[in-house]
């Protein structure tokens, strides 16, 4: 139901979405916690007095304590768990960002081309996606890691390559529907060239979906990376990541509980916040929920 609204300032859809997001307390808190985690992962390792591979011979596998200076305890090799967890976070978040960027790049390009081209090209491109979609990618990635050794770049590419399929499908569907929307037709009738239509009309209207999807891809990528690390296929010792730390912790389960509890907590809290933020963003950017009477 559209009511005539008078005497109001210009409000773009992005401003509306921002306001809706700020009203969502869970999403706001999640965003703050994520910012805090990111900040500590970036800054704290530079400040803390321990290196990630530095062994404290006086404190091997000691529990969390203020006295020793090892706030979260040490591992079986006497390395500070807090520092290692933060370094693990660096790796996990870096992988998440780069792999998401890879999937974003491939997915958006592929999807937008298929959607805008339409017709036969679209059909062939989407048929390929369908076939790839049915493959058990996780197994292929594991195969890849086993065969070609552990390699950070390979992780980026492999994980990115899994996730672009979803992105391509979503972007293609959205582009297809945008292409047939009346405002795009109006622009074509107005003689606006195709490149400009894509830049001014298609891309800005795709952005909402892509933003939401990116926030939901990041936790997924973190999960995949830690899964690989857990299997011992991720980054190489002494460098570490959250999944690798959980794996080490699982092996010392009965003697050193802190070794599994703290890295797990970091991992779970990050995933939790990403998911909450993604949910909030989706609600804020979904036009259906905003137009109710």
């Amino acid at each position: 139901m559209s009511l005539v609204r008078q005497d109001e300032a210009p409000r773009s859809l992005w401003q509306d979405a921002g306001a809706a997001l700020r009203q969502n307390r869970a999403a706001t808190v999640a965003a703050l916690v994520l910012a805090l985690i990111t900040l500590s992962v970036v800054v704290l390792p530079e400040v803390l007095p321990f290196g990630y591979e530095q062994t404290d011979w006086d404190h091997i596998a000691t529990g969390p304590s203020l006295g020793t200076g090892h706030l979260l305890g040490t591992d079986a090799l006497g390395r500070d768990l807090l520092v290692r967890t933060l370094w693990g976070g660096r790796v996990s978040l870096l992988v998440a960002l780069v792999a998401t960027a890879v999937s974003l790049l491939i997915g958006v390009t592929y999807g937008a081309v298929a959607g805008y081209a339409g017709g036969r090209i679209d059909q062939v491109m989407m048929r390929i996606v369908d076939i790839l979609y049915a493959l058990p990618f996780m197994f292929l990635v594991i195969l890849l890691m086993v065969l070609f050794g552990r390699n950070l770049v390979l992780i980026f590419v492999a994980i990115g390559a899994i996730n672009w399929l979803d992105m391509a499908r979503i972007v293609r569907g959205q582009t297809l529907s945008l292409r047939n929307r009346e405002f795009v037709e109006a622009a074509r009738a107005g003689g606006v060239p195709a490149a400009r239509i894509i830049r001014r009309h298609i891309v800005p209207n795709l952005l909402g979906v892509v933003v939401v999807y990116v926030t939901l891809t990041i936790p997924h990528v973190i999960l995949v990376e830690s899964f690989l690390s857990f299997l011992g296929l991720g980054v190489q010792e002494p460098m570490t990541s959250w999944g690798a730390l959980v794996n080490e912790g699982a092996q010392e389960l009965e003697t050193s509980w802190w070794m599994i509890v703290f890295p797990s907590a970091f991992l779970a809290v990050t995933l939790f916040c990403c998911n909450f933020l993604g949910d909030g963003l989706r609600d804020a950017l979904d036009p259906r929920d905003r137009s109710h009477r």
Partner: protein, 600 residues
């Protein structure tokens, strides 16, 4: 007078919204006698539907109703869900606007009807099935037994609405509430459904509340009328009195805004004498779409949306294009501007063949050829400001234009279409439907085009807003010396604005004639049926009319009938109509595509 069947007093409906409470209905009161038909009329947002939903406890979760509504000895508003469930469907039944979404797509017709009988009559198995089949036959559905096992998507639109009505009447309710029951239907199907409702009302003695925005629909149906505006009752009384002598100012303006098919148009000047070459000329224009194959690996089928259309348009002329949904009128409009690929024929514009140009040659010409769409909000990019939207064609055709000059031109254009230029930095969702359509018109006119295609440009608007927009369009046409192609399904609107009218059916022209000739002496059987089906907002005229209904619904354009495409619904059809394709031939001032045009 006996005791009223339904007695509503002090009905208030409020919705809790993030922006504060929204008062949808205020202090509404009315009484309905058994067997009586009450028409509730109002524009969108008048609260007419919400009032009835409130009585049946069907408001959205954030809605609250208060007041009193006595029905068969109980206050509907005070009943709990369980008690209300014994009234809903059994004593008061409801029919909604869109039969496609209002029927469950996952259940067969028989199953949906059966659930109602099971709930209210404790009827199941063969007796229930028999009762359902009988009711389907009563609403004019042939082969009722087979229909019971079909799903809604296998039925046509009119058939679905018949199923809705049959389901509503299963338990012989005392009151039938019909919320815009014909709004989603074509005019010939609307006439069938309205006739059916009149017939059933007599047969079952059911009282009816007919909710509609369309005064012409209630004119032939309602005994009494209730006019609503912004949640309040403006006027209520016998329908004949209100139509003849409305007392309330709003009712008067509403009635004045409704175009009448039976009166000559007041809005358009008579066509000028055409001198010289036509501005636009179509010759044998064809548009085809590929429809996905039904079989795997099968070849996609071709759908002829426009199947050979020829006409000329003089400079400054207004051509109305009318027809039911799926007749190809919108596709024709888009093909003229080459917004859809043309499969055959040519479109001449000032002597140049548009279909032969590549996009680099075509784009400069687009400055002259513009379009206004049906859905005002959808045709504006939600992420651009109004200034940028209106300026876009200008920036395309005059890339060197200074930003300030451009803004000034936009401001000037906005003023012309009746908008406040100081609002130009707002976004489309901050405007009402009518205002959005003004913005779309401003965008179409900013490059000073020669031709504007208006594709159902006023169909989504309320009656009063519609009249304003039509007046604006015609005024601008006069000032800017435009030609208009005005596409619509509403005959009365087409009559109001057109100098010449083209009637389309299944992608072909059935008849083309000067507007007054066409409406005074329709020659093609289809034109006659269309005119007969369109309701007229006058109870006196409406009740005196002879009703010659057009049976059935248009066939699928995927498999059009041979020969004359209209023959399957034509009552004058003879054997040769199936073999010969009738050419568009002159009969007096009209051009008619009918083999028997001279005889009938």
């Amino acid at each position: 007078m006996s005791a009223p069947l339904l007695d509503v007093a002090d009905l208030n409906v409020e919705f809790a919204t993030p922006a504060g409470p929204l008062h949808a209905v205020r202090d509404l009161g009315f009484a309905l006698q058994p067997g009586e038909t009450l028409g509730i009329v109002g524009e969108s947002g008048s609260g007419k539907s919400q009032a009835m939903l409130a009585l049946l406890g069907l408001l959205a979760a954030n809605g609250r109703a208060s007041g009193r509504a006595m029905f068969e000895g109980a206050d509907l508003l005070a009943l709990g869900e369980t008690a209300l469930d014994r009234v809903r469907g059994a004593r008061i039944a409801m029919v909604f606007q869109d039969p496609m979404t209002s029927l469950n797509p996952y259940l067969t017709v028989g199953r949906q009807m059966g659930l109602v009988l099971a709930a209210h009559r404790a009827l199941a198995g063969a007796p229930a099935r028999r009762a359902c089949a009988e009711m389907l036959e009563a609403v004019g559905i042939p082969e009722a037994g087979r229909r019971l096992d079909q799903f809604p998507h296998e039925l046509s639109g009119g058939m679905r609405q018949r199923v809705m009505i049959a389901t509503a009447l299963l338990c012989r309710p005392a009151l039938l509430v019909a919320d815009e029951p014909t709004t989603a239907l074509d005019v010939t199907v609307q006439a069938q459904i309205l006739a059916l409702m009149r017939d059933l009302r007599e047969r079952f003695g059911t009282a009816v509340i007919l909710i509609t925005h369309d005064l012409s629909v209630v004119a032939g149906m309602a005994d009494r009328l209730l006019v609503m505006q912004q949640g309040q009752c403006r006027e209520t009384g016998p329908a004949a009195e209100i139509f003849a002598a409305p007392r309330d100012a709003y009712t008067r303006s509403l009635l004045a805004a409704v175009p009448r098919l039976d009166r000559p148009a007041a809005l358009v000047p008579p066509p000028r004498e055409v001198a010289g070459a036509p501005l636009l000329e179509a010759e044998g224009l064809r548009v085809e779409f590929a429809v996905a194959a039904t079989r795997p690996l099968g070849r996609p089928r071709r759908l002829q949306a426009v199947a050979g259309v020829s006409f000329g348009l003089a400079p400054g002329e207004i051509l109305g294009v009318v027809g039911e949904s799926g007749c190809g009128k919108s596709t024709l409009g888009r093909a003229l501007l080459r917004l859809v690929p043309v499969a055959g024929g040519r479109v001449g514009y000032l002597g140049r063949d548009l279909t032969a140009l590549d996009s680099a040659e075509l784009d400069p010409l687009r400055r002259d050829l513009q379009i206004v769409f049906q859905d005002p909000l959808a045709s504006l990019d939600p992420r651009m400001t109004v200034r940028d939207i209106v300026a876009e064609p200008l920036e395309t055709f005059e890339p060197t234009l200074d930003d300030g000059v451009c803004t000034n031109k936009v401001a000037e254009m906005l003023t012309r279409v009746g908008l406040d230029p100081s609002h130009m930095n707002r976004y489309p969702h901050q405007f009402s439907g009518g205002q959005c359509q003004r913005i779309a018109i401003a965008r179409a006119l900013i490059t000073r085009p020669r031709l504007v295609v208006c594709d159902e440009a006023v169909s989504a608007l309320d009656v009063s807003v519609r009249a304003q927009i039509l007046r604006l369009l015609l005024e601008l046409r006069r000032l800017l010396d435009l030609s208009l192609v005005f596409i619509g399904h509403d005959l009365a609107v087409i009559r109001q604005v057109s100098q010449r009218v083209m009637v389309m059916y299944l992608g072909r022209i059935m008849e083309m004639a000067p507007a007054e000739t066409l409406f005074a002496t329709p020659r093609h059987p289809y034109t006659r049926a269309l005119l007969a089906a369109a309701p007229i907002p006058d109870p006196v005229v409406e009740r005196a009319r002879e009703r010659i209904g057009l049976p059935g619904e248009p066939p699928s354009p995927l498999s059009p009938p041979s020969g004359c495409v209209f023959r399957t619904r034509c009552r004058w059809a003879v054997a040769r109509c199936a073999t010969e394709v009738p050419p568009l031939a002159a009969h007096g001032a009209s051009q008619v595509a009918c083999l028997r045009a001279a005889e009938i």
